[in-house]
Homo-oligomer: 510 residues x 2
């Protein structure tokens, strides 16, 4: 790298040190992928040992005290920090952030968190299976307590709250006040929209979603679509796993997974396009900055914006199905012969308030997230106890989604996140949805008639726009700044609401 040679030695040392750690992390990532996708069941114990060893080697590197000295030297060097958007300044900002977070937790708290969440995950799985919330409640209590201690170690701004300190680990700068400011108007309008849709006397037919289609054919179909929108299979793979995800080692080796059920090609396609969106982001990160923040994704919500954009803004659009319907017919033949492009498009956009987040449609999904955000915020503030969680949960499901929760297994025990100590994580899903709509509006304003392009199978103009505006900058901007830079406005709920209303009301004959 010629750039490193002109930098002071401390910066070159930091660069080398972090690239080395990042290379090790990419090895751990491959082992994690293999564990989910390839590993035979009896390999688990040894795999845990391999991952623990790598985690230890990575931890040693990320808490190496030399980092503090190198950082201090660099931070005092105007030539590196004068322009806060320079590669060096971006890297220094993020290395500082990572180092401070990695060294702020006392070792005994790290151990206690790891031991408690490891047991709590197992207790949660048993409690969910037995629909026995009382079994999980004391573990959630412990996790809340540990999370508060963790938040205190990290600290938060005076006007903030403990939730902010935890959320910052998933999304730099995300605060409860910011999230609530965006979520509250969205929630109010979504509840009204879903109510209107459910009152329609002409909801779309569900026929497409109930077809039985051979899984081998579904697989060929979703591979073709993901390649057509731009996923580069020379730099990635698609496999199956019970929960779809996007992983890999670096931009040129990205591993997607999806899932198949005979009677749910819509889910297979949606999952594939979702992970493809994550994968396109990773494949588009700048190769020359591999192993540094400058070459990395921003955070979870911008990542989710990319997956949601391809899944929903593209893959559930009328124009997409104009292009895709003949391909569907080509792959499934007579089985789909009776369904028009319009019928498939409408079926792919059915809305149905339900109990389970991971099965929710585009309109109701965010209501599931808001419930979790409001509850975890209250738990951390001390406004809600673990014992009172089920009744609070069920009340919100009635209020926001109009559904009665018949059991805690289908209610507050459905998600693994809290048992893992991941408080502050859920809102990144909804922020991602909001960013996706706002980015898509900006792209459309700049690129012109996107639907006419999609109808011809032309996805490259949109992907190029995303590459240039979102992928190439890596982690130069935080989410909020990136949004303002790319769209000209701070994040608001309006684009997502416009998108949903303009699409869904006509489908429901309203």
């Amino acid at each position: 790298m010629s750039t490193t040679q002109t930098h002071p030695k401390a910066y070159a040392d930091l660069l080398q040190h972090h690239r080395d750690a990042s290379l090790l992390s990419s090895t751990a990532s491959l082992l994690g992928w293999d564990q989910e996708v390839m590993m035979p069941p009896n390999g688990l114990a040894h795999r845990s040992n391999q991952l623990a060893q790598l985690a230890q080697l990575i931890h040693e590197r990320s808490t190496d005290p030399r980092i503090a000295d190198w950082l201090s030297a660099c931070e005092a060097d105007e030539s590196l920090t004068a322009d806060p958007r320079s590669d060096a300044a971006v890297n220094l900002r993020e290395w500082r952030r990572d180092y401070d977070r990695a060294t702020k937790l006392p070792a005994e708290l790290v151990v206690e968190l790891s031991q408690t969440t490891s047991r709590a995950k197992a207790e949660w799985a048993e409690a969910r299976k037995a629909d026995d919330y009382a079994r999980f409640a004391p573990w959630l209590d412990q996790i809340i307590g540990l999370s508060k201690r963790q938040a205190e170690c990290y600290g938060w701004p005076e006007e903030g709250e403990p939730w902010d300190a935890l959320a910052d680990g998933y999304e730099a700068g995300m605060t409860a006040a910011y999230v609530a400011g965006v979520f509250t108007p969205l929630r109010e309008k979504l509840v009204v929209l879903v109510d209107r849709l459910m009152g329609s006397s002409t909801p779309p037919s569900n026929a497409f979603n109930e077809l039985k289609l051979p899984i081998a054919q579904q697989e060929a179909f979703v591979r073709r679509v993901s390649a057509a929108v731009g996923f580069d299979y020379r730099s990635g793979r698609l496999d199956t796993s019970s929960h779809p995800f996007c992983s890999g080692t670096h931009h040129a080796d990205i591993r997607l997974t999806t899932r198949f059920a005979e009677d749910n090609v819509n889910d297979a396609l949606g999952s594939t396009l979702h992970e493809t969106g994550h994968g396109l982001y990773e494949q588009g990160l700048p190769a020359e900055h591999l192993g540094t923040p400058r070459g990395s994704s921003v955070g979870l919500s911008i990542h989710e914006s990319q997956s949601r954009l391809w899944e929903n803004q593209v893959g559930r659009s009328r124009a997409f199905w104009t292009w895709c319907h003949p391909i569907l017919v080509e792959h499934f033949g007579d089985a789909v012969a009776g369904l028009s492009a319009d019928a498939v498009y409408a079926a792919a956009n059915r809305v149905s308030p339900s109990l389970i987040r991971v099965e929710a449609d585009e309109a109701t999904y965010n209501l599931h997230i808001m419930i979790r955000f409001e509850l975890e915020r209250a738990l951390l503030k001390g406004d809600l106890t673990a014992a009172d969680l089920p009744s609070a949960w069920n009340e919100k499901y009635r209020d926001y989604l109009g559904v009665d929760v018949p059991s805690d297994a289908q209610g507050c025990l459905q998600d693994i996140h809290w048992s893992m100590g991941a408080l502050g994580y859920f809102p990144t899903y909804t922020l991602g949805n909001l960013y996706s709509a706002q980015f898509f509006e900006a792209a459309a304003a700049e690129l012109g008639n996107l639907p006419a392009m999609f109808a011809q199978g032309e996805f490259a103009p949109l992907l190029d726009w995303l590459r240039k505006n979102i992928h190439a900058p890596g982690n130069t901007y935080d989410s909020a700044d990136l949004c303002e830079k790319v769209t000209g406005h701070p994040l608001t709920a309006d684009p997502l609401l416009r998108h949903l209303e303009e699409k869904l009301l006509p489908i429901y004959g309203l």
Copy 2:
């Protein structure tokens, strides 16, 4: 481990240190498997960096100077070394051997070897493609020179020769004199046997080997057979790769590969059974000694004995096909309806002297190996120069196999081994064949009517015998000692010759 607690601290340190290094090696192994079987093509450069980083971490551990102190302390401790077959004594013997070999080469020779073979491999590939031996000859010259220097660093016993020092890296204690002593009578008798077979007026029909069978059906068939002989798919996988191999991370996660061609189910089955044999050995190693020599395989020739035993002694036997023929019919139906069990058995045992080692049959394979052994020994002694290799190669192919070599690409350029600096490796293949026959005779003598068991699909008695006699001892004995202990005799060529003559002469109507 309760055993480690009673040991002196130096032994516990060695154990911990080597288990840690072995865990890292198992991670490198998984990355290597993934590279061959799963990785998308653009992932190569990054994967090389990941593997280089792990190699560096492993090298640091295997040359850690504390090992020398720990070893000295332990070797002076009678309680550890009094019984040379105790777990501790076995581990100390092998750790000593590994440490001495790892530290005997000067760093600059290691670098020169690595750089030269890296370029030589690429030059070899080009030379083979262009059938241009002159291009490769100077590289082979360099490799011979470096190999001699390498051998001098390792050293060899007074009555030995440079080849021995290199071969010892693949097979502890293997010497050229030992190999020649076993090979020479084998070669003389094999040449006569192959001559007789080729003179037969009633060779077996090749019809089975020319059938076109769908690859998906072939895959289901070979999976069923490998599971039936004992491969545990909860502790392993089978995938495809261009060159079949057996890899994995430890006994409970063994990764086999095989290959398929529409018109060669015989190759797919043979490759699968071969790798299954390697996999059964690995799955049978003692779990409680994971990450230590006591829990590891002996060396390459004993490993090859296990693969060859299942591929040839079992998988090419008449009794195996009595059991397997109905399964073949079940999987392929009408396509194989015209072929009797006898016809398939005979076709699976066709002998045909040929140019290419990796395509050779059971009878001629060892002649290919002997040619390579004699030539590499002469190259290292200085009795043959790289420039004279092609004519020496072609002469031996005429003498031993009766075939004329039409081009160096199909002659002395066919194997990658020498370009990688792997001199002293080839004979382990033939030693493996010899051990397989001698082990199989011993098992049959102890277990009774093995063919009657195989005809019923009962492979467990044989596997249990191998588990107890070969797998469970791990690396307690070297190859030669293990052979004497298990069979009561030193290794000789007689069992393999008996096996081949008793099987092949009747098939050829002789």
